[in-house]
């Protein structure tokens, strides 16, 4: 798809190629970007599930039982697996991007990007472990 004007002498008629709808499909890096954007949908969906869980909790034991049964359905488990993968992907791309925004100098020397990424991952694992600890040890 291209847009342009008709040529007249001394009036150039540049054409402007328009981006195709499938542009994100044309480069692996573009695809990876669109997938990262897509993670937002799953994160949002999971937030909705959390809200529904809270509602079920407040609506009494019968509602809660029904809700947890629904959550245990194969469809629901399948969704959770996919959502988890997207969440992990989101976290990883986020950590990889972190060094672009953070410029840290320690003793006059810039901290290498790898160190920054590693620091983020370590904090992530520690936080996850802590949350898991709170939830699983009762």
């Amino acid at each position: 798809m291209e847009s342009q004007t008709t040529y007249k002498r001394f009036r150039p008629a540049p054409y402007t190629p328009k981006m195709q709808l499938s542009w994100w499909w044309q480069k692996p890096t573009y695809f990876a970007y669109i997938m990262r954007e897509l993670t937002a949908v799953f994160v949002a969906a999971y937030a909705v599930i959390l809200l529904l869980t809270l509602r079920a909790l407040s609506a009494g034991e019968a509602a809660w039982e029904a809700w947890t049964t629904t959550l245990q359905s194969p469809l629901s488990i399948g969704f959770h697996v996919v959502a988890l993968l997207f969440a992990v992907y989101h976290s990883i791309t986020w950590f990889m991007a972190a060094p672009t925004a953070i410029v840290l100098n320690v003793k006059g020397k810039p901290v290498p990007a790898k160190t920054l990424i590693l620091a983020h991952v370590v904090i992530w694992i520690v936080c996850s472990a802590a949350i898991a600890g709170i939830l699983l040890t009762r």
Binding site: Y7, R9, F10, R11, P12
Partner: protein, 585 residues
């Protein structure tokens, strides 16, 4: 005051490189009410100033002196420099470089935050300011970005100026081809400053960019301005074979060695001093460019250079400098070698050979950049003031474009303010010039010649390299002279394949070729008549310097197209530094 039209200005600058932008800023600062414009065949940041690497000279350190910089420049130029011009240049150099600092130029620094300086060929002290090894790039971008803040500066980007319009000895403006549309525009201007750079593209093997075809110099020449010292063409001793990419002199200032095929520092055989492990100023690898290039040629004749597919070469050895030093001081050199030669200077020697780098000659101007046509000024490599004489010292040219760009800007502004209204004949002049372009290049022709632009250019290149290269003699120059005149004639009949008006680069290439042919003819004629050897002009049939006859600037005046120019001589201004023998080592 009557307005000529929409494209009217007080000062028009042709060329948007370092000198042109500096001049534009100077005009805007001299009088903000003046209308100033910059017309260039390329966007300003594409100009060839961008390729300069090593640095820009100016005395700033307490262990250095103005006097020494003057002496180095004059002796480096083999006493052909005008000494009043050199004095003005050296005096104003530090101020101009400081202005660049105030405009944000990212100069390399000492640990305490002062501007750092490095050694350079032919200079007795460290006085070359640098921004790693991308000094020209940083200076050009600083000047361009700074110029954007001056509202009066209007730009005509990608306008190819084809003629100067001169009425009764006074400049009235230019005719310019708008490349995107193919339309010819008259730009009326009270004064015009030509800052279009040199004409290294007359030679086949050059560090010069594709755009360096001497268009502004040819414009002036056709308008009746004399061209000064055209025979002096600088070969830089270290260019990459094939591409001709410049490997900066800073490599040698940082301690690089030049080695022949036996890994021998051959410069010691050519009166350039004793080899020492550390670089010593004004000796060996830090000798002046002309002497180093000549030493290569001698070495080649002795069969001691290395044979390669793109001509003979020698080795530039940086390995002992170490990776960290190379990365810090010479990052671009490493980048260029990795990219274009697929070698890493940290572990391997760089193949280098002399390459045409700079044209000392150019438009004959006075110390303010004025020419003999009222309202026409010039600055930068296009001009010959002359501070470079028979051989320019490395790192003087970047400073030159600041100092004389500013001077020409101020002088042209003052002239424009005083000058009367435009001539009533302006439109007629422009129409004539436009008709010439139409007739010569655009109109369909019945007689189709077999010649092509590339074919004629190749023949020109051969003649210039063989006839007017590092070493010349009467016979080689005579042959070149006859052939180039014949090529001028043939070039008029080249049939263009491209008949489009939109961005017709074949048309501009044809005009560039004609410019190069005219300038080559001036180079050859000036070289033929200077029967002595001085600086970069080495005649094997006249190997001695002859101060009695040739302590003079040659001035080439254009005669009819297709005939050789008339050569006259003007005295060199000598003030406090009487001519001596040129000694290095």
């Amino acid at each position: 005051m009557t307005r000529y039209g929409p494209d009217e200005c007080d000062v028009l600058i042709v060329g948007g490189g370092g000198a042109g932008l500096r001049a534009a800023i100077a005009v805007a600062e001299t009088d903000p009410t003046l209308r100033v414009a910059v017309a260039s065949k390329v966007y300003p940041m594409r100009s060839h100033t961008v390729s300069a690497e090593g640095g820009s000279a100016g005395v700033i350190k307490s262990n250095d002196s103005i006097e020494e910089h003057i002496y180095d420049t004059i002796s480096g130029g083999d006493w052909l420099c005008d000494q009043d011009a050199v004095e003005a240049f050296v005096n104003e150099a530090p101020k101009e470089l400081l202005r660049m600092e105030h405009w944000g130029c990212p100069w390399s620094r000492e640990p305490d935050g002062q501007v750092a300086v490095r050694s350079f060929g032919g200079m007795k002290n460290k006085r070359t300011w640098y921004a790693a090894d991308k000094t020209g790039f940083h200076m050009l971008h600083t000047l361009f970005q700074t110029s954007l803040k001056y509202e009066p500066v209007k730009r005509y980007d990608e306008y190819f100026v084809t003629s100067l319009l001169v009425d009764d000895g006074r400049c009235q403006g230019v005719l310019a081809l708008e490349m995107a549309t193919g339309q010819l525009h008259t730009i009326a201007a009270k004064s015009v400053i030509l800052c279009t750079g040199g004409f290294g593209k007359a030679f086949p093997f050059t560090t010069n960019a594709n755009i360096k075809t001497g268009d502004g110099v040819a414009l002036a020449y056709r308008a009746g301005v004399a061209l000064k010292d055209m025979e002096f063409v600088q070969y830089h001793p270290t260019g990459l074979p094939f591409t001709g990419i410049l490997i900066t002199e800073a490599t040698r200032a940082e301690g690089g060695f030049l080695l022949n095929k036996d890994d021998y520092r051959y410069l010691q055989d050519y009166n350039l001093g004793e080899p020492k492990p550390e670089p010593v100023l004004r000796t060996m690898e830090l000798g002046p460019r002309d002497r180093l290039s000549q030493a290569f040629e001698q070495e080649r004749l002795k069969g001691r250079t290395i044979k390669g597919p793109y001509g003979d070469y020698v080795h530039l050895d940086l390995r002992h400098l170490g990776e960290q030093h190379i990365n810090e001081r010479l990052p671009m050199v490493r980048e260029l070698c990795l990219k274009y030669e697929k070698i890493d200077p940290v572990t391997e020697c760089i193949p280098v050979r002399p390459v045409v780098h700079y044209t000392m000659g150019g438009i004959h101007t006075d110390i303010m950049g004025a020419t003999n046509v009222a309202g026409v000024y010039a600055a930068g490599e296009a001009a010959c003031v002359s501070i470079n004489g028979a051989n320019r010292l490395g790192s003087n040219s970047l400073t030159e474009l600041l100092v004389f760009g500013a001077r020409a800007g101020q002088a042209a502004a003052a002239y424009a303010k005083e000058s009367p209204d435009f001539s009533p004949r302006l439109q007629a002049l422009a129409d004539d010039a436009a008709q010439d372009i139409e007739k010569t290049w655009i109109a369909p022709r019945s007689k189709r010649s077999k010649d092509t632009i590339a074919g004629i250019r190749k023949e020109l290149h051969n003649q210039m390299e063989n006839g007017a290269g590092i070493y010349r003699d009467a016979k080689s120059l005579q042959t070149a002279r006859e052939t180039v005149l014949e090529l001028q004639e043939r070039a008029q009949h080249v049939a263009l394949q491209d008949t489009s008006y939109t961005f017709n680069t074949e048309l501009t290439a044809a005009i560039e070729l004609r410019n190069l042919l005219e300038l080559s003819s001036a180079i050859i004629e000036s070289a033929l008549q200077r029967t002595e050897s001085r600086g970069s002009h080495q005649r094997t049939d006249h190997p001695k310097r002859d101060d009695e006859k040739f302590m003079a600037h040659s001035l080439a005046y254009r005669t009819e197209y297709g005939t050789a120019p008339r050569i006259e001589y003007a005295p060199v201004t000598i003030t406090r530094w009487p001519p001596k023998e040129r000694v290095y080592g």
